[in-house]
Amino acid sequence: MNKILFSSISKKFVMATAGLFLLLFLPVHLLINFMLLKSDPEPFNKAAHFMATFPLVKVFEIVLIGAIMIHITWGIMLQIQNWLARPVGYVSGSKADTSFFSRFMIWTGSSVLIFLVLHFFNFYFVKLGLVPGDAEDFYSIAHNLFKLPMYNYIYLTCFTLLGFHLYHALGSAFQTLGLNHRIWTPVVKVISIIYAILLPAGFAFISISLWLFR
């Protein structure tokens, strides 16, 4: 049984499925974040409150945290095995013509993870009551954070790296899930690229607006 659950293809399957789920969640988060641009804190705080209390969302939250954990753990597991499979490298490097960002998934992913930890300390752990703060006023917490240049630097860097991560994500997940098609695979690749640009751009837009124009 373990052999099946932890075979190379099964691990890739788990990785891809968890990743796809996370891809679905990000636009939802972005839409809520756009409410930060309003001068009235009410709508954003209401949305945050809804996300924190509505039962169905709570179920979704557990699945989401699970997906994040799995995506990270499986990713590290796969990466370590991959490093072990090539104990001695090449002196002349690798000049193969590959999709560029696909080579750095572990590093772009790790940067996103670092941001995620910071993000959890700033918001999620406040909501859970693990870190002091007003869980009913995420609007002010966010606005205060975006006033700090340092926070914006980190934010923008991490979202750029997230974009690099996403660039390879969708197409790769479809390939792993065996969803390969003469016509649709190139379409999925294009969607993946558009998604990888637009989504981080949306988050970055909010960051820059609040930092420089408020």
């Binding site: 052999k3 099946i4 075979s7 190379s8 293809i9 691990k11 890739k12 399957f13 796969l78 095995q81 991959n82 072990l84 499979a85 090539r86 104990p87 001695v88 490298g89 090449y90 002196v91 002349s92 490097g93 690798s94 000049k95 193969a96 013509d97 590959t98 999709s99 696909s102 080579r103 998934m105 390879h168 197409g171 790769s172 390939q175 792993t176 899930l177 065996g178 969803l179 390969n180």
Partner: protein, 244 residues
């Protein structure tokens, strides 16, 4: 043409190994890469030195044994050819050429540029066949096969098991090779009978011998001398999901 060769020399599987530098003065652009190495070896023998060990057999691109990693590319910088088909006219006067063995844990170096590729044989033995009683050749037209399927099966079957995909992959994954071997059967009616057992056994063996996991970078497809496509890996995954 003058060339500087940096060749990996390693006495045996246990010794450490290092790069040796060799100056080649009279390389003709008409030479094949292996002929150039033959010339070097002739010289080394004359100088009473140990010649460079490298694998080769057919020298016409079909046996898959001439694997070596040349200047950052398995089988050298020209796409879709094996080392034995690589011509010296693709190299420039005064160029430095790095020649390394395949690097992967399941492909340990035996000597110099020769690696042990029995890991591939083990995967093949696990399921890369169909079980039929041989005898007189059966009538080929008894089982009708769609042209498209037979073409696709053939495109997968031309994998020569050279291991360049593993050598090129940053994860030392063998998935292109294994998926080609699975696909060539999965696409044909004769192969469907044992499809489930085959994919289970071959994937399990591939994992067991210690190859890495594919992360869809596409280096294998870019470097494969027989242009085996990544779609094979997708098909292997589908076959695997179907089998469980």
């Amino acid at each position: 043409m003058k060339l500087t060769l940096k060749i990996w020399r390693q006495k045996n599987a246990k010794s450490k190994g290092n790069f040796e530098t060799y100056q080649m003065d009279n390389v003709s652009p008409e030479m094949a890469f292996l002929e150039m190495l033959d010339a070097l070896n002739k010289r080394l023998v004359e100088e009473d030195k140990d010649p460079v060990a490298f694998d080769h057999d057919c020298r016409e691109g079909i046996c898959g044994s001439c694997g070596m990693y040349i200047n950052g590319h398995p089988h050298g910088p020209i796409p879709a050819i094996t080392t034995c088909h690589l011509s010296m006219r693709f190299f420039k006067e005064g160029q430095t050429v790095w020649i390394e063995p395949w690097r992967a844990k399941p492909f340990p170096v035996i000597k110099d540029l020769i690696v042990d590729r029995t890991a591939f044989d083990k995967i093949q033995i696990a399921g890369g066949f169909i079980s039929v009683n041989t005898g007189a050749a059966p009538e080929a037209n008894n089982i009708l096969i769609r042209k498209k399927d037979s073409d696709n099966a053939f495109d997968s079957a031309i994998c020569i098991g050279c291991g360049a995909c593993v050598a090129a992959c940053k994860n030392a994954s063998a998935m292109l090779f294994v998926s080609a071997k699975i696909s060539q059967f999965a696409l044909l009616p004769q192969g469907k009978v044992e499809a489930i057992d085959r994919v289970r056994a071959m994937v399990a063996k591939m994992d067991e011998v210690g190859f890495g996991n594919c992360s869809n970078t596409g280096a294998c497809e870019a470097e494969c001398p027989k242009q085996i496509k990544l779609t094979n890996i997708s098909r292997m995954n589908r076959e695997y999901f179907k089998a469980y």
